[in-house]
């Protein structure tokens, strides 16, 4: 179990590095697939099987494809002299990001997570890891989280209707 965790964690990190370092935009998008799959594997190891499958379906099968098509349709030929990496704003943002990152790392390390009651309770009830989270997820979505669940329906309806509206704007016979 621990071995698999480290395996997939390393894989995910490597893929993330590949994502960040790849020169071509399209390689970036495809290495994102590796990141998403690695995260799905980590979800499985954490006992969240439903979440893992949903992650693959929604992100790898849906969002990623959208990103790739977006890149394909907008990418232009690479310029002769590309962006200068050591430009002024790049250095400032690099420093800011590094500061934030080190603060986060320090905060995570210094935070006594194991003393928290809810984590201690979860460690005692480790049995729940053995069973699938699917039935409990379903029941929770239909009881406790019913309202957010239904709100998502409105959210998606708004998004679809709006996206189609914005796409049609060239059709001058139907302006606002």
């Amino acid at each position: 179990m621990t071995f698999f965790f480290y395996l997939f964690a390393t894989l995910t990190l490597l893929m993330t590095l590949l994502l960040l370092l790849s020169k071509k935009l399209i390689h970036l998008a495809f290495s994102f697939l590796g990141v998403l799959l690695g995260i799905a594997a980590l979800f499985v190891l954490a006992g969240a099987d439903f979440l893992a499958v949903a992650q693959i379906l929604v992100y790898a099968g849906g969002v990623l494809v959208l990103i790739i098509i977006g890149i394909m349709l907008t990418q232009t030929a690479p310029k002769e002299n590309g962006q200068n990496i050591t430009s002024h704003s790049n250095i400032i943002s690099a420093v800011l990001v590094l500061v934030l990152f080190s603060m986060l790392v320090y905060a995570f390390i210094s935070q006594p997570f194991e003393q928290q009651t809810w984590i201690q309770n979860a460690q005692i009830q480790q049995k729940t890891l053995q069973t699938s989270t699917l039935p409990s997820t379903g029941i929770l979505l239909m009881t406790q989280y019913l309202l957010p669940f239904e709100l998502t329906a409105i959210l998606l309806l708004v998004a679809i209707a709006g996206a189609i509206t914005l796409l049609q704007y060239k059709n001058k016979s139907r302006i606002l």
């Binding site: 071509k24 399209i26 390689h27 495809f30 697939l33 099987d49 439903f50 499958v53 949903a54 693959i56 379906l57 790898a60 099968g61 849906g62 990623l64 494809v65 790739i68 098509i69 394909m72 699938s132 699917l134 039935p135």
Partner: protein
């Protein structure tokens, strides 16, 4: 579990060879000609010869392609289709991963092959390829929706995503299922009829008889999986007369063969899923009629060797019948135009499958 893993890959490859031969013969039959007849008796060795030729061929990587992605793409396509086989129960015992999320996992992992297709289209650096890939993506993503909705209505009836559980529910061995001891089947899934079919079995306990509207569901599923595996009449992504070969225009040798294998794998997988979701999986079609207990004779109890063999046999019969149907459709109907394709998906299949979900939920209430 591991036996299944060992069996499936050789099975898939052999099936691929046999299916290409069968397809040619079916095509010949439909078009009133002979099909392959030169190599071996009745042309039986034709596909073997073809695959030997493909193996010998050089894998041509054209100038200007993204070589890494070009090689990776067929692997991703095939892997994602093959990963879908992991959850298939081939017989009461012989199965891969007994996931609780079974069919949901299969739908999710199959959807990954779109990424591979896009990769192939982009890496080829060819207009035909990219057009084919974009068409394939639009088509596959659209047709995933009716598939998902129909599967959902089956899941409402069976109350489980686990394909093995769905199998058990559709036959006389329902009591062998953990937690299924008290479950009962009624004629057409309606408890009010008072006719209990739990021990009659046969075709009467198949999902299409437990909820008769699932016949419509099967038709939707069948059409949508045809589109999902890019087969005629939904083969606009690789339409030879317009796009040469779509996303696999530039592919040659074994890389091309892997694409073909993935396509046949997709056919096989969708046939398996259709057989399990609608037609009782490994359960026998013959019912017990009074003292003539055909169902008990033709399907052994789970955990016995006879049970395994009969289960495997019945499942394969159903699967091959559905594959024959797929080939028959391919050689009968002409290719759809792109707008007709999307009309069919969004304005016909999706509304019907939404109504089907509603009907299934009502139907489930009657079965208590």
């Amino acid at each position: 579990m591991w036996i299944s893993a060992l069996i499936l890959l050789p099975f898939l490859i052999v099936f691929g060879l046999a299916a290409v031969y069968a397809e040619r013969k079916v095509a010949g039959f439909v078009q009133d000609r002979l099909g392959p007849s030169e190599v071996g008796k009745y042309g039986l060795l034709q596909t073997i010869a073809d695959i030997l030729k493909l193996i010998q061929k050089e894998i041509i990587i054209p100038k200007g392609v993204d070589a890494f992605l070009f090689r990776l793409a067929p692997i991703i396509v095939f892997t994602s289709v093959f990963a879908g086989f992991a959850i298939l129960p081939l017989s009461p015992m012989l199965m891969g991963a007994g996931l609780t999320t079974g069919i949901f996992y299969a739908l999710a992992i199959i959807s990954l092959d779109i990424v591979g297709l896009l990769m192939a289209g982009w890496a080829s650096n060819n207009k035909y390829s990219i057009l084919g890939a974009l068409r394939a993506v639009a088509q596959i993503i659209s047709y995933e929706i009716p598939i998902g909705l129909v599967v959902l209505s089956v899941v409402i009836i069976s109350q489980s995503l686990d394909l093995q559980t769905i199998n058990y529910q559709q036959g006389i061995h329902i009591a062998s299922l953990i937690g299924g001891e008290s479950e009962k089947n009624f004629l057409f899934g309606i408890a009010a009829t008072g006719i209990e079919t739990t021990q009659i079995g046969g075709f009467l306990t198949w999902n299409v008889f437990r909820m008769p509207f699932l016949w419509v569901g099967f038709i939707i599923f069948f059409i949508a999986t045809l589109a999902e595996s890019n087969r005629a009449p939904f083969d606009i992504p690789e339409a030879e007369s317009e796009l040469i070969g779509g996303f696999h225009t530039e592919y040659s040798g074994m890389l091309f063969a892997i694409f073909m294998l993935a396509e046949y794998g997709m056919m096989l997988l969708s046939a398996f899923l259709a057989a399990i979701l609608f037609f009782g999986g490994w359960n026998t079609p013959l019912p017990n009629i009074g003292n003539i207990s055909l169902a008990t004779w033709t399907s052994g109890a789970p955990n016995t060797i006879y049970g395994e063999i009969t289960g495997f046999f019945w499942l394969l019969c159903k699967v091959f019948l559905i594959i024959f149907l797929q080939m028959w459709v391919r050689w009968t109907y002409p290719r759809l135009r792109a707008d007709h394709l999307f009309y069919l998906c969004w304005k016909v299949l999706v509304p019907f499958s939404l109504v089907l979900i509603l009907l299934s939920s009502v139907w489930k209430l009657w079965s208590f």
